[in-house]
């Protein structure tokens, strides 16, 4: 049971991570890449949580919260940066 | 600080939340740890001063619990719907940006409505016009005017439930005077 669950979730999450990485690589714009990086972080978080559930420990929980916050700060920062630059280009 | 001090009552929800986070991060809910957490929470709230969130002072638990259940149900349904759209519709999906005028002009209510609407997949707050308290919402798979009206009604219904849960008395009376929620006009 444990092995089956681990294998199935590992395959699903790996496929998802591959998709997100592909979008980071080809993403036509910076915002697309940021979005995909955010998804990649969420997938990593999901993997950490699956490990906790299957092996019954809570060691990664703080890491999970930190991951959420890093993704948040990262995407907000980049979004502001993009808005600033483009705004000046448009106005001039 | 020259600003007026916030009363303990308006700060209480923040303090409770900070103590809860403290206990959760230590994974220890013993009274001693919580008391120490409360002490730190008070100190943090004093040093890192933020503009207080003006709560209305009323909170209707009996409306909040069904609202949370309905909200969770909507999140589940809409998540699967977005997945379905991603897999089967893909590139040919059509969207819309819809202006939704809200009843309430309090920042808290506009923020809460925006949060709830953003968390339900398929709708996303693009812009907020604070002066007229209008939300501009990007909706996934909105093809025609019927869908637009549906999205607008959904947002306004969410706001109505939030007002019933934690709006001020004035907002509540305005809502009741309005009677049946009628879809109002388009944008400014």
């Amino acid at each position: 049971m444990k092995d089956i669950v681990l294998i199935v979730t590992a395959v699903i999450l790996s496929l998802a991570a591959a998709g997100a990485i592909y979008r980071i690589a080809v993403g036509p714009s910076l915002l697309d890449r940021v979005l995909a990086a955010d998804v990649l972080l969420a997938i990593l978080g999901a993997a950490l949580a699956v490990d906790m559930a299957v092996n019954r420990h809570l060691n990664n929980l703080v890491l999970l919260v930190a991951l959420t916050l890093i993704g948040f700060v990262g995407s907000v920062t980049v979004a502001r940066f993009v808005a600033d630059r483009r705004g000046q280009v448009n106005d001039s | 600080m020259s600003r007026k001090r916030t009363s303990f009552r308006t700060e209480l929800p923040l303090l409770v939340w900070l103590v809860l986070v403290w206990g959760a991060l230590w994974r220890d809910f013993s009274p001693g740890n919580l008391a120490f957490g409360a002490l730190i929470a008070v100190v943090v709230a004093r040093i890192f001063y933020l503009p207080p969130v003006e709560l209305s002072g009323r909170f209707n638990v009996w409306r909040a619990i069904p609202f949370a259940a309905v909200f969770l149900g909507k999140v589940v349904a809409a998540s699967f719907q977005v997945m379905y759209l991603a897999v089967f519709r893909g590139p040919s999906v059509s969207n819309a940006v819809v202006a939704v005028p809200l009843r309430s002009h309090s920042d808290l209510m506009v923020t809460a409505t925006g949060h709830v609407i953003s968390l339900i997949p398929g709708s996303l707050v693009v812009e907020v016009d604070r002066s007229t308290s209008t939300l501009y919402i990007h909706g996934l798979n909105v093809r025609n005017d019927v869908d637009t009206a549906k999205l607008r009604k959904e947002v306004q219904d969410a706001e109505a439930s939030l007002i019933r849960i934690m709006g001020t008395n004035a907002e509540l009376e305005a809502l009741q005077a309005e009677g049946r929620t009628a879809t109002r006009g388009v944008g400014p």
Binding site: V39, A46, V50 | V53, V142
Partner: protein, 163 residues
């Protein structure tokens, strides 16, 4: 998970397995959405929101497996952190995307913000023609300065298209 589980343990393990797999599928759905949707905004719908449900399911699985009451507040705190941050970052990215014309207009059935933005732009140009001294610093920062200040009190405190 319990090896060779029987009775209640087996039921809990089965529920856990379903929760974990559906939670992982939500991540896969986000990735499929990222790959298949045509423009930034629709990708954003797929990318951020199903994750909230995915994390909820996986955290519920952890709670079921740990079987101790003090775990639940921790999991709730972890989930609430995500509930609070996801709409904010989605709004910020979406706003930046709209302002930098990442939308494909042909994919929109209606755009009720466009008229407002155009009206504001016309007004701003008129102001600029009047006195260029006062207009330039305002347009250089635009609504972003407002958003910066507003982010202290709440995510949606931005000035909006009127700026």
């Amino acid at each position: 998970m319990t090896p060779n589980a029987t009775g209640a343990d087996a039921v809990i393990d089965a529920v856990t397995a379903v929760l974990l797999i559906v939670g992982a599928l939500m991540s896969l759905g986000a990735a499929i959405g990222l790959l298949r949707f045509p423009d930034l905004m629709s990708r954003m719908h797929a990318a951020t929101k199903p994750q909230v449900l995915g994390l909820f399911l996986v955290l519920a699985a952890i709670g079921l497996q740990m079987r101790e009451w003090w775990v639940w507040p921790i999991l709730v705190v972890a989930w609430i952190f995500q509930l609070l941050t996801v709409p904010v970052s989605a709004h910020m990215v979406g706003r930046a995307g709209y302002r930098t014309k990442h939308l494909h207009p042909e994919l929109l059935s209606t755009d009720e913000l466009e008229a407002v933005v155009l009206r504001a732009a016309v007004k701003r140009d008129a102001e600029k023609a009047e006195g260029s001294d006062s207009a330039i610093p305002r347009t250089a920062n635009g609504g972003n300065a407002g958003a910066n200040r507003g982010s202290v009190g709440g995510p949606d405190g931005s000035r909006g298209p009127s700026a």
